[in-house]
Amino acid sequence: MNWADLNLMPALPELFMSGAILVILMLDAFISDAKRGMHYGLALLTLAVCAVLQVQTYPVVPVHTFSGMFVSDALSSLVKLAMYGSTAIVLVYSRQYIADRGLLRGEFFSLALFALLGMNFMVSASSFVSLYMGLELLSLSLYSLIALQRDSVKATESAMKYFVLGALASGLLLYGISMIYGATGTLDLALVAKAIKAHTANDMLLVFGLVFIVAGLCFKLGAVPFHMWVPDVYQGSATAVTLMVGGAPKLAAFVFVLRILVQGLEAMVADWQAMLALVAVLSMAIGNITAIAQTNIKRMLAYSTISHMGFLLLGLLAGTPDGYAAALFYALIYVLMSMVSFGILLGLSRAGFECETLDDLKGLNSRNSWYALLMLLTMFSMAGVPPLAGFYAKFAVIKAIADIHLYWLAVVSVMMSLIGAFYYLRVVKNIYFDEAQDTSAIVMRADMKLVLSLNAIALLVLGVVPERVIVLCMQAMKQSLAAI
């Protein structure tokens, strides 16, 4: 490695973030408990600066650095911006909640930022090694975040489950990567792609590697049949951490999958397309049907996530730039939707009370019609009813698979969203049709109220004028995948 050629500019936001995390960590040792709120401000400030740096370094063409391990392109920059945004939203929503539960500590913020750093590396990796490093940084931070609530039996249990299963999945992934390495002799995604196209690699070995990789990826996405951890982790974690697990990491995992399958193994599209089709159908079916039976809303949303991941995979398996863009758009909208739904749960929880069953939402309309409306918008958006953003996400994906003539898959997917509509409607029913069981006043910090409102209204605004974001997704895909 020639140090003189090392260009640090593309990784500027990451470098800044690393520094800021260390500062927050150090500071934690020196300030008193009463001033812990400072971390909150610092973390938000860090995210804001990172976002500015990201916009400043938004690349016109993909730029590689760190000996080709790290790439900064439109895709990674767009997704990183979304991740800063969603992490900031999570912090705002969590502020009161974690304070009430004694989690307002430096570790919470530094771990959250470490997780974000890991995600940044995942979306910017252009080699199997850096991909894996980013993934592990994310996963380890998330395990510890869940376990941070150490007095809670449920949280400890779900951290343990997540850790054991996550380690297994990482193992599968590494095993698959080693086979690809064995077949192609390289870990660089672009070189792997070239080697496969040139047919110099052993096909048998490649397909075996692919199977292990897809299994590992599906675990990280939480797609059936590797979804078992999702409901337990969602339910067991403190709601603030659930939001952390269910928000930005889904975006990162999506880009992770995209980098490996599309940038690295695109020549094997016929192989992974069939695998993903099966996984997608199963995820939509099992996710949606099982969600109907849930009474715990966090668990219900976990199954709903599984079904959303199935939808997302549909876009991916289309194997066309439009399909990838549709899947990216879906992922962005999904994160936006999950933010509001968990945000409402966080807002309705208070010291000594967890809002987590469907009954806890009953009569929300009579308690506070504004929050009820926000949740209404989110639920219909998740169900894919126009004119909300969730509709265009589903629409884009269905259009992409129709483009490759997989109409049967399109019909299956719309039937699954019909089933899904039932449990989203049930949430709306509880909010609007039923009488309140709990009539205590809802208190939210002003900043949370504002962000939550903007967050939900964004779903409606993006439902009326989605064009800008769609174009952004398409351009990002076009630029980042131009190489192949």
């Binding site: 309309n365 019609s369 209404l376 219909f380 009813v385 126009p386 004119p387 509709f391 265009y392 629409f395 884009a396 269905i398 259009k399 129709a402 483009d403 109409y407 399109a410 019909v411 719309v414 039937m415 969203s417 019909l418 509509a421 039932f422 409607l425 709306v428 029913k429 609007y432 049709f433 004028v465 989605p466 064009e467 769609i470 174009v471 398409m474």
Partner: protein, 498 residues
């Protein structure tokens, strides 16, 4: 009047609805009502230039607006009305005004949300009728489920939850399949969602046409509703508040029938012709069998709900009267007249039942008797609507049914004979109900305490009565508007796409 008249007609009620919502809780209910009635009135007035400024000699689209919307998906903000859809935009704006008045002091809880839901829905319905882009249509078509779901679920009767879920999921089932069909057509039409481009597709193989027709059928037949997918309607109607029933019957059912005219027939003419015997059979089952079902109802609202299904059977019958590859002009125009007429008549019937329900809190026929003694003015108005519902000449109900039967005779005598039974059944169930409820001795102390209609109710009844009589005496005023558009449609359907 304005260059973007249609946009105004769509967005004015929606903006008014948001304003009503912003008035807040029940403590400012009076303000909410007045804002709502102002919004509905403005919406109605804005829709009138569509009628007065309509060029009868132009069968194509008028008041067109085209703006780019989601260019990357080939979706445009494309609006326009022809002689068919224009009538429904006005009918809808009119009905919204009636509904807002009908819910005036009757709705006790969350008035602002109630009024807002109706206004927003009114805008969405106008959008569905005016949209010339398939996805724009779909957005409006599905979007209206949200307010309707809430209207039934929040302000409905005892089984409102069941009814609202059934309504939502039934309609969603159909429309989702239609979405896939629309996406298929998008690729066939050269990556555009323009409905006129869909209609202009030159070739679609018959088996594909039939599959697409089934998708459209499921979507629109559920909305119409046709037998046997009609079962959501009696539940939804009975549980919905008066205003909800009025809008459901007067407007949302029409969107289903309109969908057949705008999508299924012109885009898939060959499938429509091949499958027309099924459509005719289902329509006749609706007319005859559902007519008989209505006869045995003990609940007034359910009776009118079944009578709606039966009348809509007439509409779908009229739309699928093929001779060779030609649709019958009488039948199609009759179907359209019947649609508009049924809008007025069913709104009137449901409003009358609502008036009685507000006083006695029962919809059971058996709980009434001798209402005429206590409410003579009301009884006179209800007589008019009952007569119109049974198709008495000089009311609007007669014109449409007569035209459809005329058309059916030209196609097949037996179709006409079966369809004509409705004149007997319709008269039987409506007038029998009327007799039991209105005539006779005062049957119990509830009826004894009934007071005649107040000014607000009188206003609604008068306006609806004028509409019913006006349309019955001079249907030509409506027919001449739609005449050329229907001609175009028939010419279009006659061209095979095989």
């Amino acid at each position: 009047m304005f260059t973007n008249q249609l946009s105004l007609v769509i967005w004015a009620p929606i903006v008014a609805g948001l304003l009503v919502l912003a008035t807040g809780g029940d403590q400012r209910a009076t303000l909410a009502r007045w804002v709502a009635v102002a919004g509905a009135l403005i919406g109605f007035l804005l829709s009138l230039p569509l009628f007065t400024g309509f060029d009868n000699l132009n069968g194509g689209m008028q008041f067109e607006e085209v703006k780019p919307w989601i260019a990357s998906f080939g979706i445009q903000y494309h609006l326009g009305v022809d002689g068919i859809s224009m009538l429904f935009v006005i009918l809808n704006s009119f009905t919204t005004l009636m509904v807002v008045l009908a819910g005036w002091e009757v709705i006790k809880k969350r008035q602002s949300q109630y009024m807002a839901a109706f206004l927003i829905m009114s805008g969405l319905i106008n959008g569905a009728f005016a949209a010339l882009d398939a996805i724009l249509f779909y957005v409006f078509f599905e979007g209206m489920l949200i307010p309707m779901y809430l209207i039934i679920g929040v302000w409905g009767g005892p089984r409102r939850v069941y009814a609202s879920f059934k309504f939502f999921l039934y309609t969603l089932l159909g429309s989702l399949l239609m979405l896939v069909a629309l996406i298929y057509l998008y690729f066939q039409a050269g990556k555009t969602f323009d409905i006129q481009a869909f209609q202009a597709i030159a070739k679609i193989p018959l088996h594909v046409q039939i599959l697409l027709f089934i998708a459209f059928f499921l979507s629109f037949a559920v909305k119409v509703p046709m037998w046997p997918v009609h079962t959501w309607l009696p539940d939804a109607h009975v549980e919905a508040p008066t205003g909800g029933s009025m809008v459901l019957a007067a407007i949302t059912l029409k969107i289903g029938a309109y969908g057949f005219l705008r999508f299924a027939l012109p885009i898939l003419p060959d499938a429509a012709r091949e499958l027309s015997w099924i459509m005719v059979a289902l329509s006749l089952v609706a007319v005859v069998y559902i007519g008989l079902v209505a006869l045995v109802q003990t609940d007034m609202k359910k009776l009118v709900a079944y009578s709606s299904i039966s009348h809509m059977g007439f509409v779908t019958l009229g739309m699928f009267m093929f001779t060779g590859s030609h649709l019958n002009q009488w039948a199609v125009e009759g179907a359209l007249v019947q649609m508009v007429s049924h809008g007025f008549v069913s709104a009137g019937m449901f409003f009358c039942i609502g008036v009685m329900y507000d006083r006695v809190h029962s919809r059971n026929i058996a709980d009434y008797g001798g209402v005429a003694n206590k409410m003579p003015i009301f009884a006179a108005f209800m007589m008019l609507f009952a007569m119109a519902n049974s198709g008495l000449p000089a009311t609007s109900g007669f014109a449409g049914e007569f035209m459809v039967i005329m058309g059916a005779v030209q196609v097949n005598f037996w179709y006409a004979a079966l369809a004509a039974t409705t004149l007997i059944f319709g008269a039987a169930y409506t007038l029998w109900m009327y007799k039991r409820v209105i005539f006779g001795e005062v049957s119990n102390h509830h009826v004894e305490e009934m007071a005649d209609v107040n000014k607000r109710e009188f206003l609604v009844l008068v306006v609806l009565a004028i509409a019913v009589l006006g349309m019955g005496l001079y249907p030509q005023g409506f027919v001449e508007k739609m005449h050329l558009s229907v001609n175009d449609l028939i010419a279009h359907v006659a061209q095979t796409k095989l």
